[in-house]
C-alpha cells in the first residue's frame, strides 16, 4: 500500500512526521512554497527558503525512503506589494534548474485583490516561459468561490494547458467548475477549514475520480500529516475498491506530476 501526499509543508513538520508517513505507506511528497506564518523581510529570506526546499528537505525525506519534490513561487499572502514580489520572482528561474523542482506553486489569491492578481499573472507567465507545471492555492472560506473563478480566468488567458495546472483546496462549491474547465482538482484534508475524509470521499462519489487527488497540506497550523492514509481508510470503510483508493491517492498524483521530467519514483 503506497500513497503520495502531493501537498504538504514539511519545513514545518518534525522528522518524526516523516517517519510516521513512511510507516503509513508514503513514498513521495511534493512541497509548494507558501507563507511561513509571518511575512519575510527580505528577498534573502526567500532565497534561504528555496534552498531549504531544494537542498535540505529532500535529504531529510530520503532518510525514510520518501522522495521529496518542491514547487517555487511567492505566495499570494506576501504578494500584495508588487515591487517586493517582483524582486522575489527574479530569483526563481535559477532554482527551476534544481532536480527536485516540479513547477510554480502554490500561486493564487488570498484576499482577491488587484495586487495579488497582478503577481499571479506574472507568475503564470513565468511558468509559461519556462514550461513548468502549476500548483494553485485558492482562498479560504467566503473568498474561495470568487477567488477560484478569478484564478481560472487568469489561467485561461495564458497558453498553459489546463491539464498542466492543479487547482487546490477545492470544495463542493468549486470542484465542478474546476473539473469542467479541464483543470486538475486537489482536495485538502484539513481539520477545521477544508474537507474531512468523509466529504472528500463524497466528492469523489459525486464528481468522479478523474483529474482529482487529495492531500494533507500539513503545515505549522492545526493539520494532520497522516490525513491521506486516513482518507484511504475512510474510502475502504465505505466499501470502495482498492483500485479506486489507489487511483486517487497514488495513480492520479503520479499521472499529473509525471508531466514534469523531474518527477521520478524509486523502483
Amino acid at each position: 500500500m503506497k500513497y503520495i501526499d502531493p501537498h504538504i509543508h514539511m519545513v514545518s513538520r518534525t522528522t518524526d512526521d516523516y517517519q510516521r508517513m513512511a510507516q503509513s505507506g508514503c513514498v513521495a511528497v511534493t512541497e509548494p512554497a507558501f507563507w511561513a506564518g509571518f511575512d519575510r523581510s527580505s528577498v534573502q529570506g526567500f532565497f534561504d527558503y528555496y534552498r531549504q526546499l531544494t537542498e535540505y528537505e529532500p535529504r531529510r525525506a530520503a532518510q525514510f525512503g520518501i522522495r521529496h519534490f518542491s514547487w517555487l513561487c511567492i505566495n499570494p499572502k506576501e504578494a500584495d506589494d508588487p515591487g517586493f514580489a517582483r524582486e522575489v520572482i527574479a530569483i526563481i528561474p535559477d532554482f527551476l534548474e534544481r532536480e527536485n523542482v516540479l513547477g510554480i506553486g502554490e500561486i493564487g489569491l488570498n484576499k482577491n485583490t488587484r495586487n495579488e492578481l497582478i503577481i499571479l499573472e506574472e507568475q503564470i507567465a513565468l511558468a509559461e516561459k519556462h514550461n513548468q507545471l502549476v500548483l494553485v492555492h485558492t482562498p479560504h472560506l467566503e473568498d474561495k468561490l470568487k477567488g477560484t473563478r478569478l484564478i481560472m480566468d487568469a489561467l485561461a488567458a495564458s497558453k498553459i494547458e489546463p491539464g498542466r495546472v492543479l487547482i487546490d483546496h477545492v470544495e463542493e462549491h468549486t470542484v465542478g467548475e474546476v473539473l469542467d474547465r479541464g483543470f486538475w482538482a486537489g482536495m485538502t484534508l484539513y481539520p477545521d477549514t477544508k474537507v474531512t475524509p468523509q466529504r472528500a470521499t463524497d466528492i469523489i462519489e459525486m464528481y468522479g475520480h478523474e483529474r482529482i487527488w487529495m492531500n494533507s497540506a500539513g503545515d505549522w497550523g492545526c493539520s494532520d500529516p497522516l490525513a491521506v492514509p486516513k482518507a484511504r481508510l475512510e474510502m475502504a470503510r465505505r466499501g470502495h475498491a482498492q483500485t479506486l483508493i489507489d487511483k486517487v491517492t497514488f495513480d492520479n498524483p503520479l499521472t499529473f506530476l509525471s508531466q514534469s521530467p523531474n518527477f521520478q519514483l524509486d523502483e
Binding site: 482577491n112 488587484r114 482562498p139 472560506l141 467566503e142 473568498d143 468561490l145 462549491h173 462519489e205
Partner: protein, 105 residues
C-alpha cells in the same frame, strides 16, 4: 434529481445510516449546544451577520433538496464582483458574508 447524486455511494441508505449515524448524531448535538451557548451568552443580540448566515444554513440542512453542502458553501460565499486594489487593512476571512436579500432556499 441531478445525475451525480443518484446511487453514487457504494453503500445502501441503511448502510450509510449504520456507518455514520452515531458520528453525525454527535455533530448535530454540537450544533444544538452551540446555539444554546449563544442564547446563554451575556449581553444583547449582537446582530452578527455570521449568526444570521448560520441560521439560514440550518434551513438548507433541513430541506429535501440535494447538494446541501454545496448550497451552504454558496450561502457563505462572497458573490461580489468588485476587486479591491490591496489587502492592506483587511481583516482575515470570516467564513460567511451578510445575507443577500434574495431567497436562497
Amino acid at each position: 434529481m441531478p445525475q451525480d447524486i443518484v446511487n453514487t455511494c457504494p453503500q445502501t441508505r441503511e448502510g450509510v445510516i449504520n456507518t455514520y449515524f452515531l458520528e453525525h448524531r454527535a455533530k448535530l448535538l454540537d450544533i444544538a449546544a452551540y446555539l444554546d451557548r449563544v442564547d446563554r451568552g451575556r449581553g444583547d443580540d449582537p446582530q452578527d451577520f455570521r449568526d444570521r448566515a448560520f441560521r439560514e444554513a440550518l434551513k438548507i440542512l433541513s430541506s429535501d433538496v440535494p447538494h446541501r453542502a454545496r448550497r451552504i458553501l454558496e450561502l457563505f460565499s462572497d458573490m461580489s464582483h468588485e476587486i479591491p486594489q490591496s489587502a492592506e487593512g483587511m481583516k482575515g476571512a470570516a467564513g460567511a458574508v451578510p445575507l443577500a436579500t434574495e431567497d436562497r432556499s
